[in-house]
């Protein structure tokens, strides 16, 4: 184990430029992936907050009998998607409007504001399709004048999130492919540079696995290093955005670990492919 470690360090010292290049490409691969994942994660957060507020508001025609309203509330409350349904009277609506609008509170008169049914959905039923479906069902009550929900921009946020995820994956994979190729080239150079040493190792009875190990470890180390570098870059970008544009949340440990592990995988894969191919030639 100590020997393998020593060999790995030696590899970095032998080809510092190429080693740095491989680490950088892995870092950029993960950085571009990281940026888009960051966007996706934050949009998801925003969506969650929006979703929690997503409510369907059904405006009730004036003069609707209280019994009919109560029956409808019971009905809607028992929909499988619905968490709760509350009736808001004209007076309550006025109360709220005043609280929210502060200095204009005197402008309002109870008569301006219709009574309404406020519907909150259960988690997991807050995507645009379900919201639309429930809204349509509520619309069928004859005394319901109008149904509103944040249809347009819920849908937009969803689309942005999907786009960000897709872009991140595509760019990340592209960079990962480049990283694998560059790592492969680095390992190939390393194998050729150490051809003499490898042939002597073979001669004295070192196993293929033993000969391969330092190269694999080299790839792994570069991958982990690239992952950490990418993390630093992403964090830097994150704090820059947070300071200048909008406050954003950084990754949790799970995503951080997954990112570094992905880097390690890229490094390992690049060197494994290359070592397998070139060891037989020396």
């Amino acid at each position: 184990m100590r020997l393998t470690l020593r060999e790995t360090l030696l590899a970095f010292r032998r080809a510092p430029l190429l080693s740095a290049l491989s680490v950088m490409t892995i870092a950029f691969s993960l950085f571009s992936l990281g940026l888009f994942v960051l966007v996706a994660v934050n949009i998801r957060d925003a969506l969650q907050q929006v979703e929690e507020r997503v409510e369907i508001r059904a405006y009730v025609a004036d003069g609707t009998p209280v019994e009919a309203l109560a029956a409808a509330l019971g009905d809607i409350g028992s929909f499988p998607e619905v968490a709760r349904a509350d009736g808001i009277s004209q007076e309550e609506a006025l109360e709220r409007a005043r609280a929210e609008l502060g200095e204009f509170r005197d402008v309002f008169d109870a008569a301006f504001l219709p009574a309404s049914i406020e519907v909150r959905l259960k988690p997991g039923f807050r995507d645009p399709e379900t919201v639309g479906a429930v809204a349509a069902r509520i619309r069928t009550y004859p005394f319901v004048d109008d149904v509103r929900f944040g249809e347009e921009w819920v849908r937009k946020l969803y689309n942005i999130r999907n786009l960000a995820t897709a872009a991140g994956i595509i760019l990340g994979v592209a960079f990962a492919a480049v990283a694998i190729i560059i790592i492969g080239a680095t390992i190939r150079m390393a194998v050729l540079a150490r051809g003499r040493e490898i042939s002597i190792m073979r001669l004295v009875g070192a196993t293929d696995g033993f000969i391969r190990r330092p190269f694999l470890l080299e790839g792994l180390a570069k991958g982990v290093l690239g992952g950490i570098l990418a993390l630093a870059l992403t964090y830097f970008a994150h704090s820059l955005i947070s300071r200048t544009l909008v406050a954003t949340r950084f990754f949790d440990e799970r995503i951080i670990l997954a990112g570094v592990a992905f880097g390690a995988l890229i490094g390992l894969l690049g060197s494994a492919v290359s070592v397998g191919r070139h060891l037989r030639r020396v």
Binding site: L3, E197, M201, L203, G205, D208
Partner: protein, 234 residues
């Protein structure tokens, strides 16, 4: 220990290098492999340490057959043989002691006694004072002694030497050859390819002569034939 049975070897590019060669090297034996350049001596040695494989016939070394050995077993076989070359093949950036230790480090040798083993081997080849010298700071003869010490790390049953004195002057040649004799006297078989007929003539070891890929003379068979001739008068 080493048995060639009707071995032919044809290189993909280069034609027939060995043609129906058969011989047997016994445990603890010393045998020269002679013949003109390009005869096939190095090819025979490569077949012994299984860097090459026969096109026809079978090579058997320490119980394993060239025809059935698996890739993973070759490393195990190599640990039972020592190989030295004309060009020494030492690692330039490592000292004499490190070159010897290297062969132990890259096999599964127990770490604890590497240092003692290396110093014992250096003493055996007469280089205990040069342990920390780099190859370029050593004479050709000294470098070959380091290579021999490295070949001996795993107590091989046979030492395979491909023109070990090819790059050495007379004095160094005599020294290295004496070392090989000592190693053989201690029980290790030696199979040595050489152009140096002077060495061959001065010792009475077995001689196998190759010419154009064919075994043209084997002193062991010649002696056996002579014995047969004497015991059965015409």
């Amino acid at each position: 220990m080493i048995r060639f049975m009707h071995v032919s070897k044809e290189y993909a590019r280069g034609g027939l290098a060995l043609d129906d060669v058969s011989f047997h090297i016994a445990k603890g034996e010393f045998a020269f492999l002679t013949g003109p350049s390009g005869a096939g001596k190095s090819t025979i040695l490569k077949l012994v340490y299984m860097e090459e494989f026969p096109t026809e016939g079978d090579v058997r070394v320490a119980g394993v057959h060239a025809g059935t050995i698996r890739r993973g077993e070759i490393a195990q076989l190599r640990r039972k043989l020592g190989v030295v070359f004309q060009d020494f093949r030492l690692l330039e950036e490592r000292t004499a002691a490190q070159n010897i230790a290297f062969a132990l480090e890259v096999t599964d040798a127990p770490r604890a006694n590497i240092a003692t083993k290396v110093s014992r081997l250096l003493t055996q080849v007469g280089l205990s004072s040069k342990a920390n010298a780099l190859p370029r700071e050593l004479s050709g003869g000294e470098q070959q002694r380091v290579a021999i010490a490295r070949a001996l790390v795993n107590d091989p049953f046979v030492l395979i030497a491909d023109e070990p004195t090819g790059n050495l002057d007379d004095r160094a040649t005599r020294g290295v050859f004496q070392l090989l004799r000592d190693i053989n006297a201690a029980g290790t078989a030696v199979l040595m390819a050489t152009h140096n007929l002077e060495l061959v003539r001065r010792s009475d070891y077995r001689v196998i002569e190759i010419n154009r890929g064919q075994l043209v003379y084997d002193s062991a068979e010649a002696a056996a034939d002579a014995a047969v001739d004497r015991s059965t008068p015409a």
